[in-house]
Each structure stands twice: as C-alpha cells, then as structure tokens.
C-alpha cells in the first residue's frame, strides 16, 4: 500500500500523464476482453471496438498536430482515407501471396501509414513554410480532392497486374481478376482481418511514439515554436522542420488508423471519411484537451459510444449529442470547477509527498 502512495510524489508531471494514458488503455482492454469472453458484451459494442481504436489513434495523432504543434488541421479523416484504401487494395492484391491474415494486416497498416505520411509531407512542404492558418485551408481542400478522386477511381487486379481507370467500363481484366476499387461504391469484398487486439496495440504504439516525441528535445522545440515563433527562431529552432515533424507523424498515425478501419469492414465507401469525420476528430481533441492524450482517449470513447447508446431515442439522438457536447465544453472551461480539480490535485500530491518524506 505504502509504495502505491509513494508513486505520485516520485513521478514528475510528465510521467504521471503517460502512466494515466497507458493505464487507461490497458485497463480498458482487460475489462473488454473479460467481458467479451464471458459473453457480457452486446454485439453492437463488439462491433464498435475496432472503430473506436481507430478513431483514438487518429485523434492522438491529430492532438500532436493541433494541440502540441498548434496547427489547425481540418483533413485528418482524409489521411485515414488514404491509409484505408491503400491498405484495402494492398491486402486484396496480396490475398493469394500471403494467405495468413496477421502478416498481411501488419504489412497493410505499415503501407497505409507510410503512404499517408508521404501525402502529409508533400502537403506540408509548401504549406508549413507559410505563417498563418494555411494548413487548415489546404487540409480542408485536400480532403475534398481525395474524396472525389477515390469516388471516381476504378482499380482491378488480375494475373497481368493492376488495371486502373477513371471510367467504370474501361477496366478490362482477364477472367479471374478482382476489382479493388469500384468508384463511389468504394472497396467491396474486403477480407476482414482487423482485430481488437491489433487496435489496442496500435493505440499503445501511437502513445509511445507521441509521448516519446513530446518529451524529447524535438518535442520541446515543437511546443516552443507553437508558444512563440520569434523566440523559437531566435534560439535556432527550425520552425518548418518542427511543424513538419508533428504533421507527418500525425498523418502517419491517421494512415495507420485508417488502414485498421478499412480492413475491419467488407465494404468501405470513400464518403465515410468526409469533412464531418475530420471535424469529429477535432472535437475529440479539443474536448479531451489540447496536448492531453489521456483526455483525447476518454473523449473519443465517450463521443463515439454516445450516439450509439442513444440510438433508441431516434429523432432526439443528435439533439442530446449536441447538448452533451455543449455541457462538456462548459464544464471543462468552468473556472470554479477547474480550481476545484486543481485543489484536489494539490492535496493528492501533497499527501503523496509527505508519505514519501516519512519513508525516507
């Protein structure tokens, strides 16, 4: 018992944040696994497990970009889209060569993450050199472009290789060929190889990457560039480089999240990753707290589950959702509530401190 009390005093704030995040994920995972195996999880909840993991990973990435680096990004869903369709196409075309699902899943997630990161870097090169909220505008436009492109794309694979067209009837394939993308219908007939465990591992990896970055020299430089551009430049921080690092990692995580998402459904339409999804991800980040990864995880879980829980209320569903959003916003910005939480925190750490002192 005593050692437990000792912990908070010994840990600096940054480790406390990390421990909370990892603890949160592992506890959630354990509880859900037990519930699943004892048959206490409804099929609705079971079907939500993987998507929730995906949104968490994309939101953690977005928080690095928006919260830590301070750039507004309105197209995170679109990086998910890039990752998702990359993964679905790759997994579909590798189905014969690599029949085992796990290596194919890992490979597809890596590919989705990589391609999304490359898109992020290509967008970032011209945009992040500018001062101002240009990233918001460009990511917004990028989202529309990617959606339109995939909506009009037809891609098939047969023994002769890939066949690609923007017109439906021009994909001439040998018999036995397989369509990977069907324009507005998106990807169909995908083998569902995503698993909840993969989702949890992906969240943990995302947390490791993001925390490692945040508390490294580069991370402090990213925050410095956000807090004060001129001061950051004056100490020799390359603003472009730091902003690019955060944006590329964010895009990469969105790509990985999208890949896992895409491989969780037999059909995937490009409209799934529209502007609304980008905004929802932003809502998770803002409500969870800028730079606060544990908050992001909690906000994502609550806000993804809420509309599903309210499904029985039909027409009032979105109304209640909106009211809850507003309430959370009010509560998290409430000064009295904040000071109260601060007081609690102080008392908690003070207690931990005395326990430590008496021990040593």
């Amino acid at each position: 018992m005593k050692t437990k009390k000792k912990l908070p005093a010994l840990m600096s704030a940054k480790y406390r944040g990390r421990t909370a995040s990892y603890g949160c994920v592992l506890a959630g995972w354990l509880i859900l696994e037990v519930m699943m195996h004892t048959g206490n999880l409804s099929s609705l909840f079971t079907s939500l497990l993987v998507p929730v993991c995906c949104y968490i990973v994309a939101a953690i990435g977005l928080n690095l970009n928006v919260g830590v680096s301070g750039e507004l990004n309105l197209g995170q869903a679109c990086f998910m889209s890039v990752g998702a369709f990359t993964a679905v196409c790759l997994s579909g075309s590798l189905a014969r060569t690599i029949p085992a699902p796990l290596p194919r899943l890992i490979l597809s997630i890596l590919a989705g993450a990589l391609i999304a990161a490359i898109f992020g870097i290509l967008i970032g090169i011209p945009v992040l050199k500018l001062e101002g909220d240009y990233l918001a505008i460009v990511t917004l436009a990028f989202g529309q472009i990617v959606k339109s492109l995939i909506t009009n794309m037809y891609l098939g694979v047969d023994e002769n290789g890939f066949h690609f067209s923007f017109v439906d009837n021009q994909v001439n394939m040998a018999p036995g060929g397989k369509m990977l993308l069907n324009g507005p219908m998106g990807a169909t007939g995908t083998e569902r190889i995503s698993t909840f465990t993969a989702g949890v591992i992906l969240i943990l990896l995302a947390l490791i990457v993001v925390y490692h970055l945040m508390y490294s020299r580069s991370g402090r430089a990213i925050m410095a560039a956000r807090d004060n551009r001129i001061a950051a430049e004056s100490v020799g921080i390359g603003i472009f480089k730091t902003k690019m690092l955060a944006f590329a990692v964010s895009s990469c995580l969105a790509g990985a999240a999208g890949a896992l998402y895409g491989l969780n459904y037999s059909t995937l339409v490009p409209a799934k990753f529209d502007f609304n999804t980008s905004i929802l991800l932003l809502v998770y980040v803002v409500l969870g707290g800028l730079g606060n990864m544990t908050g992001t995880i909690v906000a994502t879980v609550v806000l993804v589950l809420l509309p599903e829980l309210l499904r029985s209320m039909q027409d009032y569903r979105m109304l209640i959702y909106a009211v809850v959003l507003i309430l959370i916003m009010l509560l998290t910005n409430n000064e009295t509530l904040k000071t109260w939480v601060q007081k609690l925190k102080k008392r908690y750490t003070a207690k931990g401190g005395t326990a430590h002192d008496t021990e040593s």
Binding site: R220, M223, N228, A232, S234, V235, G236, I237
Partner: protein, 234 residues
C-alpha cells in the same frame, strides 16, 4: 566582427530600412538608438535572419548572413534577445534555458553555462521550476537574456531590454549587460532609453525612419546637442 552595408528591408511596399551601414567590432558594446518606429527591430530581425533584406549585405566574421536561415545564424554564434520578452510561457524556466542551447552541438558543456547564467541571474535559480509565463516582467527579460546566453554567442543582440521595467530593474539589467560584455561577449544593443544605452556604449548610431543620421562614441553622442534635444529630453 559584424558588418552591415547598405542594408535595405521592406514590408511589402513600405521601405522600413532605406540603406544603412554600420559595424560592431570584437568586444564592443554598440548601441542603436532611435524613436519608436525608426526601424530598430526591423534591423535586428534582418541580422538574425528572421526577415530577408531587400538589398545590402550583413557579414559575421566575413561570412554572408543574408542567405542563411535563422538557426544557422544562431549556430554561428549570433544570438538575439527579441523585443518584448518573448519567453516560452508554458514551459519552465529550466526548460526555457535548455532550449537556448538548442542549436549547440556540445551538449555536455551546457551545464557550466547554466551555472554561469544562474550566477548572473540568481532570481532565475530560485524560480527554475516555475512556468515562464508566471514570472514578472523583469524576470521574463532576464530569462530571455539567459536563454540567449545558453547558445554561448560571440555576439549578443538585445532589442529594448529595458522596455516597460521599473527604474531599479533597468539599472540592474544594464549592469548585467556590462557584466556579460566584460566576460567577452560583443553586444549590439537597441534602445529607446538613449541615456542609459549611451552611458554603457563604446560606440553608438542614431536611427531615424530607416536611415542612420548620426554616429560616434557613446560619450560623443551623449553630449551632442541634436541627440540631447531629440532623445535625452533637452
């Protein structure tokens, strides 16, 4: 060591610096005085690479700086304390100072510089775990100066370090500037507080709406009638 020739800087169509030349020699304190809006900050930003000049040249020990990005200029030994106490408000004093050494390659030797900064600014030592945003104005100015020193610059640019500080603190800051100079750092000081700046400067230049109108030693300018009238209140 620092030589500026025919420097021109514009903001769009507005020409803020219209061709100025001056130099700072090794070991000197040189001050650039001028009224609000004369172009002092613009000159500083051009030297440290935050603004790209429209014409002219800036050399540090013979190397042209105008084509280099700010972080390269810092690693060449030129550090700037920007105007208006720009600290990283959401990071601690210690973290701010650590970021000052960001551009240095000899990470292991920063500890001794940290000690030196704390000797120069004992108040920062007392507050090293405090968030920089919660410091007083004077302390933030000291932190900004300490942070620049962590880059171990051979020349330090200070943009209005006394702005908005109480007279007592102003004296303290000016003493520290002299102390930094005594320890071997060359200083280019920009000030509206002409009296104090001229008192500690080896040489000085007067900047008026983008042009240098007067130059001389600190005491020469302090006794110049025109300077007295325009900048020293009579």
């Amino acid at each position: 060591m620092l030589k500026i020739s025919d420097l021109k800087v514009s903001y769009g169509m507005i020409e803020a610096i219209k061709g100025i030349s001056f130099e700072v020699n090794n070991g000197e304190i040189v001050t650039l005085i001028g009224a609000n809006g004369a172009g002092k900050t613009t000159t500083m930003h051009a030297i440290s690479g935050l603004l790209k000049p429209r014409g002219g040249s800036i050399t540090l020990d013979g190397t042209e700086l105008t084509k280099l990005p700010p972080h390269r200029i810092v690693s060449m030994g030129l550090a700037q304390v920007p105007e208006g106490r720009r600290v990283f408000a959401q990071q601690t004093v210690e973290e701010n100072l650590a970021l000052g050494a960001y551009s240095r390659k000899d990470k292991n030797e920063t500890a001794s510089d940290l000690t030196e900064v704390f000797t120069l600014f004992p108040r920062l030592l007392e507050r090293r775990k405090q968030m920089a945003g919660t410091l007083s104005g004077g302390e933030q100015q000291m932190l900004a100066m300490g942070r620049a020193l962590m880059a171990r610059p051979s020349i330090l640019l200070l943009d209005e370090p006394s702005m908005g500080l109480s007279p007592l603190l102003v004296s303290e800051i000016f003493h520290i500037i002299e102390e930094i100079n005594r320890k071997g750092t060359t200083i280019l000081l920009v000030e509206q507080n002409a009296k104090r700046a001229l008192a500690i400067a080896d040489r000085a230049y007067v900047l008026e709406t983008g042009l240098i109108t007067l130059s001389g030693t600190g005491s020469e300018l302090a006794n110049d009638e025109r300077v007295k009238k325009a900048y020293l209140g009579g």
